[in-house]
Amino acid sequence: MRRIAPLTARILLGLIFALSAISKLSAPGIFQADVAAYHIVPNLLVAPFALALPWLEAMLALYLLLGLFVRPAAIVAGLLLLIFTIALAINVATGNTAHGCGCLQTSGLLASVPLLSWLFGGLTIGLFDVVRDLVLAGVAAVIFWGDTSALSLDVLLFGERKESEESLAVTPARHPGADRRSISGGWEG
């Protein structure tokens, strides 16, 4: 259970970021329009932001699903989701809600998946979107503070666990009593 919750959180967040990246890359124009509609990102930065974000999300998804640099990935994912939450909250608070969320472009590839449409779709934004992104930031926190060693490339490549086991195994050799020669010298003297 200690390892299952973070693993489930990793897969969930990884899949969401993957779908988000794919849907944005398949409808770049709509995503740019949504970013612009928030009136938070300066005009000059809207296009670069909208072009870069899907690829960064794809990287995050890959790292989370593979279990590579899981904790740094969880930090980045959590910060991104908090930024999204704040942007949504500002727009909901100021009444600028007549635009798409820009979270998952459900009008294209994902239109046929009702759950995704319900979670991320809609022509307007609202309090639901704010709460959803906040909950997802919580999911990132579960990964960060949990035991992420299950099905993880971090363990396979960097052997964080094995290293600790090895350090335990060689400890007796470092113990003064293990070096018989020094003891024998002492006897002889």
């Binding site: 949504d34 296009a47 990287m59």
Partner: protein, 256 residues
């Protein structure tokens, strides 16, 4: 040294095999003694080497990640600033939500004040006294592209007698929009409009409806949607799809 101690020492010297655990300081270590020591050292060395390898791999992958992120951001900045697609996007796709029915013949044409891409204002009510052909069109739509020469013919025939034709942009997507499900769904921008104007030699004003307010009010659900409005602002003809020249010409002729 008493007699008992001397005896004990002599006994130890006579039987060196029993002293395996205690050679003299200069004597070389036996295999049994040396093996654990060398093993521990080589284990230590092996472990340290593996640890170093893993550290190198970790640093390498982390550096690779940073480089890839930097490349993504750099390319996004270059492409974003060169193309500026958002800055020049002409419409807000989320605002497109036309009423389901076209406006009926005999109803009053809702007034609008829209601009061309060059900033020229066109207000419908300013054209009272003149018949107006309104076309709601999409850059990518093949039927609209077919309709363009027909409207050019209408202009040629009827404009000299006071007729005005206005084409209103009614889709958020540019010329690369794929109707089969869509890979490139880039928003319509100035270059799309210029392309359409040049390719189909459009002479009449092409109007931009940024939030599709007019498109929504006129129920322009399909492309093209064509209305003929008389000099009093009343709709006299309404049809969508491929509209033949003769139908528009007949409607205009009846107004004269």
């Amino acid at each position: 040294m008493n007699r008992r101690q001397a005896k004990s020492r002599a006994k130890r010297n006579q039987n060196p095999a029993r002293q395996s655990g205690s050679p003299g300081p200069e004597s070389p270590p036996t295999v049994a003694q040396g093996a654990p020591s060398r093993g521990a050292k080589s284990l230590n060395r092996g472990s340290t080497a593996r640890k170093a390898d893993r550290q190198t791999l970790r640093v390498g992958l982390a550096a690779g990640t940073v480089v890839v992120v930097a490349l993504i951001v750099a390319v996004a900045f270059l492409r974003g600033n060169l193309t500026g697609t958002t800055a020049s996007a002409l419409t807000n796709p989320n605002a497109l939500n036309p009423v389901s029915q076209m406006l009926p013949i005999g109803s009053t044409a809702p007034d609008f004040d829209l601009t061309t891409s060059s900033g020229q204002h066109v207000k419908l009510s300013d054209l009272r006294g003149h018949p107006v052909v309104l076309e709601f069109f999409a850059i990518w739509c093949p039927h609209c592209q077919n309709e363009a020469p027909i409207l050019n013919q209408v202009d040629t025939t009827f404009a000299p007698s006071g007729e005005h034709t206005l084409s209103i942009l009614a889709s958020p997507y540019g010329r690369s929009y794929d109707t089969s499900g869509g890979i490139d769904r880039s928003l319509v921008n100035q270059s799309d409009l210029t392309w359409f104007q040049n390719t189909f030699k459009v002479q009449h004003p092409m109007l931009i409806d940024p939030n599709f307010g007019t498109v929504n009010r006129y129920g322009a659900n399909s492309y093209p949607t064509i209305y003929v409005v008389d000099g009093n602002g009343i709709i006299r003809f309404a049809q969508s799809g491929d509209v033949p020249y003769q139908d528009i010409a007949n409607a205009l002729t009846q107004l004269q």
